[in-house]
Assembly symmetry: C2
DNA sequence: TTGTTACATTGCAATATTACGATATATTAA
DNA sequence: TTAATATATCGTAATATTGCAATGTAACAA
């Protein structure tokens, strides 16, 4: 007990859930919003921007990266992180399907 | 330590994060997908549909309800749960804004 | 080489989540 | 009232997440 029973759900469902989960933290939403507006996406900027310690931000970046929501490439001494729009679209499509497939006789 | 530092983020960010978080579990994605296709949205159906115990499903329904993603109304002995499309749209709009505001010179 | 800058990783305490058996509650049926 | 059905709540063990100080690493500068 204590662990999510992922085995009993389809891969598609697990993938969607892990993407949503990765976005389910205010620091990670703030990171995504910040990345969206920056020309250069570097971790130091985030440390100055967000009221969290550097290791904490690094950890959140790692989670977003593991989920595939952001990508990072080394650029000299710093790292350029940016959004992966494919994953964003994947979530977007799922949400859109909920809106259009709704059964009108429900509730 | 151990608690999310919600106080340091805006209300808008916290609201988005809690909606995403509520969807960040495979059982809850499965519930949402199932609700979308049913005419009557009753917990017993979910107990038959999902390989999880009834208290577990009830707990997941409660989390979705607390986040505002689903609404439930008593209907005799059972309860009719259904999607709240307003919240779905709220997430959808956020994701859409990420796609269109992306700075082209980034990465 | 030495220092500096920009991150990443480790380790750990505090807290949150997940799952479920047992039990409670509320509605309808007999 | 008694029983059955549908769902919620409680309690708890197992596990995951959050945040950060301390430390590690890798690149560049002097």
């Amino acid at each position: 007990m204590g662990t999510t029973k992922s085995e009993v759900f389809s891969e598609e469902i697990n993938e969607l859930a892990s993407l949503f989960k990765a976005m389910g933290h205010p620091a990670r939403i703030a990171i995504i919003q910040f990345l969206r507006t920056q020309e250069k996406c570097i971790c130091t900027d985030l440390v100055n921007e967000l009221p969290l310690a550097q290791p904490t931000i690094s950890q959140h970046l790692k989670e977003l990266k593991t989920a595939g929501i952001i990508q990072g490439s080394v650029s000299g001494t710093s790292i350029c992180y940016c959004l992966n729009l494919d994953k964003i679209s994947q979530l977007d499509s799922f949400l859109a399907s909920l809106k259009y497939d709704q059964n009108p006789t429900c509730c």
